[in-house]
């Protein structure tokens, strides 16, 4: 894990460290087993094609879990993820290089907590934001 980030170190507009994923069909099967989501569009190519999809696609919930990893890594042991969410705007396919990213959009103190607002998203190899979202995190303060 990386060094602890503190609220005072954060500035609006700064990027948080990106996370790169290169999912294989095997990883989608592992996720299906771990989460219990056995919808066939994620592992059965014929079934996916029959549903007007380009082939098997990455589970939305897996993308969301990666966004959770992105912000969880950034806040570190002394920080806390308060909320996060995302929309699934585009489909992602195994074999592509998928990058999870985030930028700081705001910082504020509220009810004794030092909060940071983030835009977070996943983009595909072409740079399209297929999975945009937001997060609010609590960071430790040096104060």
């Amino acid at each position: 894990m990386s060094e602890q980030v503190f609220w005072e170190d954060v500035e609006v507009g700064m990027e948080i460290p990106a996370l790169v994923k290169k999912p294989t069909s095997q990883q989608l099967v592992r996720w299906a087993g771990a989460s219990g989501d056995f919808y066939q569009i994620h592992y059965d190519k014929d079934f996916a094609l029959g549903n007007n999809l380009p082939g098997i696609i990455v589970h939305g919930a897996l993308k969301s879990a990666w966004l959770g990893q992105l912000v969880g890594d950034w806040v570190g042991l002394k920080g806390r993820v308060k909320s996060f969410g995302c929309s699934y705007r585009g489909m992602d396919v195994p074999g592509d290089t998928l990058t999870l990213k985030g930028t700081v959009t705001g910082k504020r103190a509220e009810g004794g907590d030092h909060l940071v607002d983030l835009d977070i998203w996943m983009e595909n190899g072409k740079g399209d934001k297929t999975t945009p979202g937001q997060a609010v995190v609590v960071l430790p303060s040096r104060g």
Binding site: G60, A61, L62, S87, Y88
Partner: protein, 154 residues
């Protein structure tokens, strides 16, 4: 309201109806397997001793774990989602709010309700959009997580 609306009065009557609680026992191995499946090496999810050194009782569930974990010990009743006239489903999005950490050894009780029901013409034809809100409480009755899921069928 157009005559050929796919949303019936019966469907509308389901909005806001709270489901019976479904119960999950949070165990160590599924947390490790989940973190392994997404490729997250954070020791809080893998190493119980490490998690204890950080002040937790046991392994910590990654954010979103409980909302995606489909192996309850007791199912409280049917899903708050309504039966769609369409057979194809897509996940529209989800939002999570975290109040208390979920750890191995917790017993989590989940209730849900349909909070929004809409129809829309999409590029693949008519679509039914459902938003479901789930509340996850721990064994002490504290709300640990709230989640909203947007489901699309077409």
């Amino acid at each position: 309201m157009s005559q050929d609306s796919i949303i019936t009065e019966e469907m509308k009557s389901q909005v806001g109806v709270e489901s019976e609680p479904t119960i999950y026992e949070i165990e160590k191995e599924p947390i490790r397997r989940w973190a392994e499946a997404i490729g997250d090496p954070n020791p809080l999810y893998h190493d119980e001793e490490y998690a204890k050194q950080q002040g937790y009782r046991s392994l910590v569930a990654p954010p979103g774990f409980i909302a995606q974990y489909a192996f309850p010990v007791k199912v409280g009743g049917p899903s708050p989602r309504i039966q769609s006239p369409f057979t194809r489903n897509l996940n529209g999005g989800n939002d999570y709010e975290f109040f208390k950490p979920i750890q191995a050894g917790d017993t989590i009780s989940v209730t849900g309700k349909l909070v929004d029901l809409r129809e829309r013409a999409g590029r693949m034809g008519a679509m039914l959009i459902q938003v479901v809100e789930m509340t996850y409480k721990n064994q002490d009755g504290e709300v640990a997580v709230k989640a909203r899921f947007t489901g699309i069928s077409y």
